[in-house]
């Protein structure tokens, strides 16, 4: 151990000696590694940013929710023909809640297209009636000062409305101007109690939430004499229970409406967990792809280090021979070169990482707007990025030092002592 410590001291001394004598060559090598590190950190950080916005976007519709639509049977069942329409009824919500304990939340969604007006401004949009848990299920987060519906709104059939943020902007000129004002829906005045916070929504049915107006289900039903909900939105108690809840819905409704619970077409269910999973896999794929490109760039820098080290070994052949004559073992010859390779790579790596952190900070401060930037996200430095970079950098540094060092250790002392 003691001899390793003094070897390290010797290497540092050598490095300092080299640094003075070959400032340019050393600077270029460190710069090459720094550039490679910058590339890999930036690419991985872009990947991380993209992953985060993809994750956010795929949750924009709701996290781990399912959507249930009417369907039609495709199988003969209990003497009944196939091709029967299976509709949804108002009381299905209570039925499913009572029969499926794994079901955490379920909301009906009634909908129609109708006119919504403020003064002379009039638009035709999707108007929907929902239950209070819909806001949480579908990520309808109210902007500051507003709220979503509660049970009292439902019980009292209040005329209150929750607006999508784009709709609020269209009608009132800005998202914040709508709150507390009145909109006319189907020529009936409604009080705006909430405007949705902007969200990145990558999955949708019947258009984006930002252009819809949402009412309490009870108000909607009595106003429009709705016969049955257009669909239900639900979530299982946990991510893993999603499959159980899905098959339970078929079983429960199948026994009431008399259809084969294995007849997948009798009801339409969109399990959005699948979309989220695919999104996660895509973003991992993108990260791997970006990481490989970054690693290859860094490899070029590593080759620069190895190249310089080979030149150093050649230059110091005589010195290596002298050390061998004095009794240095292969390990004692190799160690300085390995350490020097590692030293150059860590210097370059440190420099590259600092530069990319600066660049990331600058990019984060830039006012980039637009849907493309929204999906791309901002490059984000994360512990995962740091770990991946350190691993790639470390192994490249190791290899860049090891191969020249091996060559140094294979020097023939008898020959090298005569080497000029």
């Amino acid at each position: 151990m003691r001899s390793i410590a003094s070897e390290i001291a010797l290497v540092l001394k050598l490095f300092r000696h080299d640094a003075v004598r070959q400032r340019k060559r050393l600077a270029l090598t460190v710069a090459a590694v720094a550039w490679g590190t910058l590339s890999i950190v930036m690419l991985l950080s872009f990947g991380e940013g993209l992953k985060r916005s993809l994750t956010k976007g795929s949750r924009g519709l709701g996290d781990g929710i399912g959507i249930l639509w009417p369907g039609a049977t495709t199988r003969v069942w209990q003497g009944l023909p196939s091709g029967r329409t299976i509709g949804l009824r108002e009381d299905d919500r209570e039925l499913l809640k009572a029969r499926i304990p794994e079901l955490a939340a379920i909301s009906a969604e009634y909908a129609r297209y109708d006119s919504v007006a403020v003064g002379k401004k009039r638009v035709n949009v999707r108007v929907r009636g929902v239950d209070p848990c819909f806001g949480d299920l579908r990520k309808l987060v109210p902007r500051e000062g507003g709220r979503f519906f509660n049970e009292r709104d439902i019980a009292e059939k209040r005329r209150v409305a929750f607006l999508g943020e784009e709709l609020a902007q269209d009608l009132f000129g800005s998202e914040d101007a709508a709150l507390g004002h009145t909109v006319e829906i189907h020529q009936t005045p409604f009080l705006v109690i909430g405007v949705a916070e902007h969200k990145l929504q990558m999955g949708m049915y019947n258009g984006p939430d930002s252009k819809q107006v949402t009412l309490p289900s009870s108000t909607f039903k009595s106003m429009f004499n709705a016969t049955g909900p257009e669909n239900f939105v639900y979530r299982a108690a946990s991510w893993e229970l999603g499959d159980t809840v899905r098959s339970e819905i078929y079983r429960v409704l199948g026994s009431v409406r008399r259809f084969d619970p294995d007849d997948e077409r009798a009801l339409g269910i969109w399990d959005t967990r699948k979309m989220q999973q695919i999104n996660a896999q895509v973003s991992i794929g993108i990260q791997i792809f970006l990481g490989v490109i970054g690693a290859l760039t860094l490899l070029v820098g590593g080759m620069g280090v190895a190249n310089v080290m080979f030149a150093v070994v050649k230059e110091r052949t005589r010195e290596i021979g002298v050390k061998m004559a004095l009794g240095a073992k292969a390990r004692q010859i190799m160690l300085p070169f390995v350490l020097e390779g590692l030293l150059i790579t860590s210097l370059g790596g440190l420099l590259g990482t600092l530069l990319s952190l600066g660049l990331i900070a600058v990019l984060a401060a830039l006012p980039l707007k637009g849907p493309a930037f929204e999906i791309m996200g901002r490059p984000t430095f994360s512990p995962g990025v740091a770990l991946a970079t350190a691993l790639v950098l470390g192994s490249i540094g190791m290899l860049a030092g090891l191969f020249p060092a091996r060559r140094a250790a294979l020097v023939d002392p008898a020959v090298s002592l005569r080497y000029e």
Partner: protein, 247 residues
């Protein structure tokens, strides 16, 4: 002197010799041609011998020096150094043997240019794993011994040729080797410094150190107690060459 003669007592197997070479052959394979540099060398060197190896260039004396110094291994033959069977050892074992038994002195000094005189002398002890304090003590004692106590922190570039060779000799002695192996130690020195180095070797010999020296210079070789002539890869029998000059 450093070698008090206890540590490297030759074993009975070598018949009292420190070095015992028998039938040493060395063949270099240069691709198409095989060159036989040594063709059956027998050599015995006793403790406290002062041997000069002389011969024209191409005679095989560098090859012999490399083999004696364990820098290279013979193609065939047996070599026992200080009781250790040396022929056929691997590189790391040879490095250990060199470190413990051989002190090299080269014609062109071969000091590390960026290290102080003291650090240069310490180097063999670094490879031997000697603790820093002991290294420093032993190295400075030896620099004092060769008359350089006021030059310990000087870099080789700040020393004269004669001083550099003294540093090299201190380095050769620092691990208390059985043998000091000197290859043309005065070849790069002016006659005055050369003379001083020869005197230093004489002093070491008087203190009990075994020395093997390779030299072109007949005057230098004459200082040795025994001269071995080598020609065409073979040792010329003592009788047929000029008689060794007593020290």
């Amino acid at each position: 002197m450093a070698n008090g003669n206890g540590k490297h007592a030759p074993s009975a197997a070598t018949g009292g010799a420190l070095i015992r070479m028998r039938g040493i052959r060395k063949v270099y394979n240069t691709g198409r041609v095989e060159v036989e540099a040594l063709r059956g060398v027998d050599l015995d060197i006793a403790p406290n011998d002062y041997v000069a190896i002389v011969g024209p260039s191409g005679s095989g004396k560098s090859t012999l020096m490399n083999l004696v110094g364990c820098l290279d291994t013979p193609t065939s033959g047996e070599y026992i150094l200080s009781g250790d069977w040396v022929a056929g050892l691997d590189r790391n074992r040879l490095a250990e043997i060199r470190n413990r038994h051989i002190g090299f002195v080269f014609q062109n000094f071969n000091l590390l240019p960026y290290a102080s005189a003291l650090a240069n002398v310490e180097l063999p002890l670094v490879f031997a794993g000697v603790p820093a304090r002991e290294r420093r003590e032993r190295a400075s004692a030896l620099l004092e011994r060769v008359g350089l106590s006021d030059r310990m922190e000087h870099k080789p570039g700040e020393l004269s040729g004669g001083q550099m060779q003294r540093v090299a000799i201190a380095r050769a002695l620092v691990n208390r080797p059985a043998i000091v192996l000197a290859d043309e130690p005065t070849g790069n020195l002016d006659s005055t410094s050369g003379r001083a180095i020869v005197d230093l070797f004489e002093e070491l010999h008087a203190a009990g150190q075994t020395i093997i020296m390779i030299s072109h210079d007949a005057a230098v070789a004459r200082q040795a107690s025994r001269v071995v002539h080598i020609r065409d890869g073979q040792i010329v029998p003592d009788g047929s060459a000029e008689t060794p000059v007593a020290a």
